[in-house]
Every structure is written in structure tokens, then in C-alpha cells.
């Protein structure tokens, strides 16, 4: 995240495997492989001219799948700080990574990004409460 937020696109891409996939599940958009990741990020660069973006992550859960594979999931709050210092917010996200060991380090084989949405459980409870009140 430090590399991404510093717009060090090559450095960020190097934290993925050569064929690493970023899946923006909430908008049905998949970026496959480092070259596509770098091309997409470079094309998006002008959008960051107005604000410094930061990702604030929390609540990592790390599960060992096998000795070379980890499933890591976490939440992310995303800020945009403009030239004047005003902070605005992107939606919050839930992220699922699959990390693999490569040459003694870890790289992301996939990163799946889900935008937070109101829970179906709560929506159903609210509907039931309205029905009960009617």
C-alpha cells in the first residue's frame, strides 16, 4: 500500500506474481498480469493529480493454506487529501489476497476487492420490522 499510495507503480506491481490478478469484484473488472497492472495504473495517473490517496488497512486475518500459500483478508479505508489539506473518502472495502512464497519472499497471486455494502441480513431485519409494525 505504501508503494501504491506513493504512485510507485513498478514497485507496487513487483509485489504481485508475474501473472498476478487484481479483481475489482464490485465493478466486475479484472486486471491480469503485471504488464496490464502497470499499463492500467499509468493510464489512471492523471486522476491522482488533485489528491494524495492513502489506504488505511485493519483487521488482517491470515490463514495458511499450505507451506507456500497464505490467504490474507483485511478491511481498507481510503482517503483523498487535496492540495488544501481537505480529506474526502472513497467507499470502504474488504480485500482478499492470495499470497505465495517466491524466492523466500511473498507475492500476491490475486487480490480481490469488494466494496462494502449494507448487509442483506440487516436489510431483511429492517423489512421484517416494517412488516411487524404495519
Amino acid at each position: 500500500m505504501r508503494l501504491l499510495d506513493a504512485l510507485d507503480i513498478e514497485g507496487y506491481a513487483a509485489t504481485f506474481t508475474e501473472d498476478g490478478v487484481t479483481d475489482h469484484a464490485h465493478r466486475g473488472e479484472k486486471v491480469e498480469g503485471r504488464a496490464a497492472l502497470i499499463a492500467g495504473a499509468n493510464a489512471a495517473l492523471p486522476r491522482y493529480a488533485g489528491a494524495a490517496v492513502r489506504h488505511w488497512n485493519d483487521h488482517y486475518v491470515i490463514e495458511e493454506v499450505d507451506e507456500n500459500t497464505l490467504n490474507v483478508s483485511y478491511c481498507s479505508l481510503v482517503t483523498r487529501t487535496d492540495k488544501a489539506g481537505n480529506v474526502t473518502f472513497e467507499p470502504t472495502f474488504f480485500i482478499e489476497d492470495v499470497l505465495v512464497r517466491v524466492d523466500g519472499g511473498l507475492q500476491a497471486r490475486s487480490r480481490t476487492i469488494h466494496r462494502d455494502e449494507p448487509s442483506p441480513v440487516a436489510i431483511a431485519a429492517a423489512a421484517a420490522a416494517r412488516e411487524g409494525a404495519a
Copy 2:
């Protein structure tokens, strides 16, 4: 927090002891025992139909009271992300947990939640400054 924010109420309640207490100190409201915690959370579910809630914690301080008891305190920033992706904020909080070892794991015997308020020290300093200026 992951369980609570996913509205997995039974799962969240299981992180407390059977008689675990949640004390919302800032509104003088105490929930005692897992059954009351689950009943209260279920009753509150409809309030979460409009937004996904996330707790972002930081600055944990962990103190060992004895070999089976830990005092853990931390700060919490609480976001609400609506269907359109807009993020709004609850007040910030300071939380004090008492955790106990149960069957080799940790459970909360109590969680005390304080809403952040301007400090009396700063309020007194401001009053003194006004007096000095008058």
C-alpha cells in the same frame, strides 16, 4: 470486530465469556451476559440496513494482570458506508477490555466503551487563556 461488522452476532457473542459485560459508559448502558448481548444486537439489526459499519482500531496497550487476565485498551474510529458508497462517521471511542483465558483462548469478560470528548485539561486551559485576555 470482523465478526461484529459482518453482523455475525452469535460469532461476536462467542468472543465474550458467558457472563461477559459490555458497558457503554458514555450512555450509562450495560449489557450483561451473552444472551442479552445477542438479543440486543438482533433488535438493533434493522438500524444497519442503510450502511455497512466498520470499526478501525489503533494503539492497543496490553497489560498482563495475572497469567489468566489481560487488560487491553485501544481507540476505535467507526465508519458507515451507504449503498452509494458514501462514508459517514460515528464519534470516535476509547475502549477498555478485560480478557481472560478460557480453554487456551481469550474471551472478553468486559468491554467498556467511552465516547471521545474534549479534554477537561484543554477546556481549563482555554478558560484560563480567555481570562488572561480579558
Copy 3:
């Protein structure tokens, strides 16, 4: 940060070396030594009468310079929570600490604070895109 946010000024100052420096690089302001830090913080106290401030840090990178010196950098999101519970935001920051071992503990010899700004890389990309479109 816990000590600073609790306005425990003496306690916070004690996390610095006697000659520790805080450099607000973004406003060209340097505070040198604990005594100046305490005096400045006390003078600023009235500004905190209206809101509880919290620093939310993330993405620590720790580099060992030698056996007694660590370079630690991280990001900080700063909230202000007023009496009514409304949360507003300071700009986000990037911080660079130099920590040294003193009597078996760590103290800050310097803390350099940079306000986040839109990246020159993104600004140049946006200018190039405008030129390309013109």
C-alpha cells in the same frame, strides 16, 4: 500517540530524547528539545478545548540503521471529535522518526512530519494528458 492524544504533554515529551527535534516540514517549523516541546504544547492547549484529537497510524516501515538507531516511517490520519460527537479531519500526514536506544528503551531523536500533497508524478501525468487532448 496515546500520550499526545490524552494531552499528557510531559509523558509525550518523555518519549523524545532530551534534545529531540520535531520538524513540521510542511510549515517549516522546528521544535528543538523537550523543554521547547512542552512549552509549545502547553501554549497550544486551548486549541483542543473544542475537540478530542486522535492520530490513527498505519503502514510502519522499520529500518535498522545500527544497533542503537532505527528509522521508522508511517502514515497518520488525524480526527477531531467535538462535544456532540461530530468527527472532522485534519490533513493526512507522512512521518519519519529516528529512534535511538536509551537505557534499554527507545526514544525519538527526531520526528519529521510531512503533510500529504498530490504527487508531482500525477500532476505531470495530468498535464501530459491535457496536452495530448488539446
